[in-house]
């Protein structure tokens, strides 16, 4: 059974990681590379002439194939990691007799993973477009980790808690945001706010698609008759 659980997570993670990477190359990385033009000063928004106007348009993926191969590789590593955790949670729920996993239900699990691991931390720490400086990495990682742990537990309690204990899940979801994520005392961003906003929504959209695919595939590989 170990083999089934782990190999299912690997197959699902590799497939979902490749799909997520494809979505990122089409939608997210072009915006990221456009942000880098402002980070390096190749383009200047809020220019010295008193006008905030600057050209719009992504430079495209270019020819940095090694760099993009790394991005694809790390997407696969990340999604296999997510797959291990997601399938462990599914298996644990089934072992405790809380539910019976089906592929369609897997989509819901995947979306719950998206909410806990991507959306909840992004509410406090939006995905960073290059050229938008943020607070020290240490405290941000602490808050990020705390938020995804609290949010995962919160969703679990809402899903499987009995009676009023579900309310405890809502409290867990809220606490990180009441504490608040670490931020700088001033705004330092050199990229256009519109581009930064687009980058955030595009990356969250790609992650939502990646996670629901992952949830479906984890459940499908794990439950299918071999």
């Amino acid at each position: 059974m170990t083999k089934n659980l782990l190999t299912s997570a690997v197959f699902a993670g590799v497939a979902a990681g490749l799909i997520a990477a494809l979505l990122q190359f089409v939608f997210v990385i072009p915006a990221l590379l456009e942000g880098e033009l402002f980070e390096t000063g190749a383009r200047v928004h809020f220019g010295a002439n008193g006008s905030p106007e600057s050209d719009r348009g992504s430079p495209g993926l270019g020819t940095e194939w090694a760099r993009h191969a790394m991005t694809m590789g790390f997407n696969v590593v990340t999604y296999v990691g997510f797959g291990f955790l997601l399938l462990a949670a599914m298996a644990f729920a089934e072992m405790r007799g809380l539910t019976t996993i089906t592929p369609k239900q897997g989509i819901i699990w995947g979306l719950a993973g998206f909410i806990a691991i991507q959306l909840a931390p992004a509410i406090g720490l939006p995905p960073e477009l290059p050229g938008t400086p943020a607070a020290e990495i240490g405290p941000r990682q602490m808050w990020w980790l705390g938020t995804l742990v609290a949010s995962s537990l919160g969703l679990w309690i809402i899903a499987f808690g009995r009676g009023f204990t579900a309310l405890g899940g809502i409290v867990l979801l809220l606490i990180p945001h009441i504490i608040g994520a670490p931020h700088l005392d001033a705004f330092w961003g050199v990229a256009p706010p519109e581009l930064s906003a687009e980058f955030v929504t595009l990356s969250l959209g790609a992650a939502a698609a990646g996670w629901s695919t992952l949830g479906f595939l984890c459940a499908w590989f794990w439950t299918k008759e071999l």
């Binding site: 997210v28 990340t78 296999v80 990691g81 997510f82 298996a91 008759e225």
Partner: protein
């Protein structure tokens, strides 16, 4: 035939509900190790290679 299918399905369900804690713990450990490498470790070689993916995945990067 039908009965056979039912038995097979039952065996499968039992086999799956019979999952012990060990493989689950193993999966959790494996997942955490992979995510530490892809999203959390600050070693500069790892950071540079994973840079775009971390930005795109909303991991705190640098």
């Amino acid at each position: 035939m039908n009965a056979q299918n039912n038995t097979a399905a039952q065996t499968k369900a039992i086999a799956r509900t019979d999952l012990s804690v060990l493989p689950i713990a193993f999966a959790v450990l494996g997942g955490l190790m992979l995510l530490f490498a892809s999203g959390y470790a600050q070693a500069s070689v790892l950071h540079d290679a994973a840079h775009d993916q971390r930005h795109a995945m909303a991991f705190p990067c640098h």
